[in-house]
């Protein structure tokens, strides 16, 4: 199954029966946070609405993030983020699809691996490499890691007046806890 197919499966997934899959794992409410550090202001937002599928047979991971679900300390930041920077009406989701390099599903202890894939934001897709920790806990898996994205890569336009407040490099962290996918 290639990465595009996995992402399409994630988008059009249909739960028509309730048989747990031994190969596919699902996280319906993954946590994704981002941080922007500048000398003027630190901005942080957290989102518990990331959907992800992890296929331990093909080592593929697909993620969809609902952009409007980022929670900020100030509602004005939420408004700027959705209306001006991300344009959530036009681009409601960010997506990632990739493969965990050298993942071994027979290992029951924590594995630190690189996930290579494509991250898409505002219809712009860039290749990314993410260092992640993968753990098996009983029948479940968890994957957490972080990556940095450059706002200039994704056509995010910051007004000159606010430019000192927003870092050009955004740190993104994620924490997904997967359960066997019932389908």
């Amino acid at each position: 199954m290639n990465k595009t197919l996995l992402l399409i499966l994630l988008i059009f997934i249909n739960h028509s029966s309730t048989t747990p899959s031994k190969e596919e794992y699902i996280e319906r409410q993954g946590e994704v946070s981002f941080f922007s550090y500048t000398s003027v202001e630190n901005i942080q937002a957290t989102n518990n609405q990331a959907l992800s599928i992890f296929d331990i047979k093909t080592n593929e991971v697909a993620v969809r993030i609902l952009m409007r679900a980022f929670v900020f300390k100030k509602s004005l930041m939420h408004e700027h983020f959705n209306e001006s920077y991300i344009e959530s009406d036009l681009y409601p989701e960010a997506t990632f699809s990739g493969t965990i390099v050298d993942f071994d599903s027979s290992i029951t202890t924590e594995q630190t691996r690189i996930i290579k894939g494509d991250f898409t934001l505002k219809n712009i897709t860039k290749p990314v490499e993410i260092k992640a920790k993968i753990s098996k806990i009983d029948e479940d898996y968890s994957i957490d890691g972080n990556l940095e994205i450059l706002i200039e890569d994704y056509n995010i336009n910051i007004p000159a007046l606010l430019s000192p407040n927003i870092s050009k490099k955004i740190e993104v962290t994620f924490n997904f806890k997967y359960k066997p996918h019932e389908k």
Binding site: H15, S16, R28, N48, R68, A69, V71, S75, L76, D89
Partner: protein
């Protein structure tokens, strides 16, 4: 005398500025309180899932809606409670991420109960997603 008036002017200007900034920070900070927001629509879980499958959720985005349905699951994750509502037919759920002040109501809920919530519709992934929900 003029210097004295100038000083008063500067002090008054500074006080007004601080008051405006403080007022702005207070009004713009923290989670929005859903209870104060006007409900624009009341729907059943089945009706809301129908709107989702009909690609017509757009009119409710960032608006407060009330939804009733059967409680499928209570999830506590990342320090937030989420209620999963089902219509009993679909495996698409309504995910209602609760406001922090609603945690005290959780012990009174049982899976299978009929519940009614009010929340801000954010969109959908596999499920329809509402944040800042309160239990009615």
């Amino acid at each position: 005398m003029k210097r004295y008036l100038d000083k008063i002017f500067v002090i008054v200007f500074l006080l007004v500025s601080v008051a405006i900034i403080a007022s702005d920070l207070i009004s713009k900070s923290g989670d929005s309180n859903t209870i104060k927001k006007r409900t624009i629509k009341q729907l059943s879980t089945n009706e809301l899932i129908f709107e989702y499958k009909n690609n017509s959720l757009g009119k409710f985005i960032e608006k407060a809606i009330e939804v009733d349905g059967v409680l499928k699951e209570i999830m506590y994750k990342n320090n937030v409670y989420t209620l999963y509502l089902t219509d009993g037919h679909n495996n698409t759920y309504i995910l209602c991420e609760l406001q922090n002040d609603q945690a005290k109501k959780i012990p009174n809920l049982l899976v299978g109960d009929k519940v009614k919530i009010k929340g801000i519709l954010k969109g959908h992934l596999m499920d329809v997603i509402l944040l800042n929900c309160i239990i009615l």
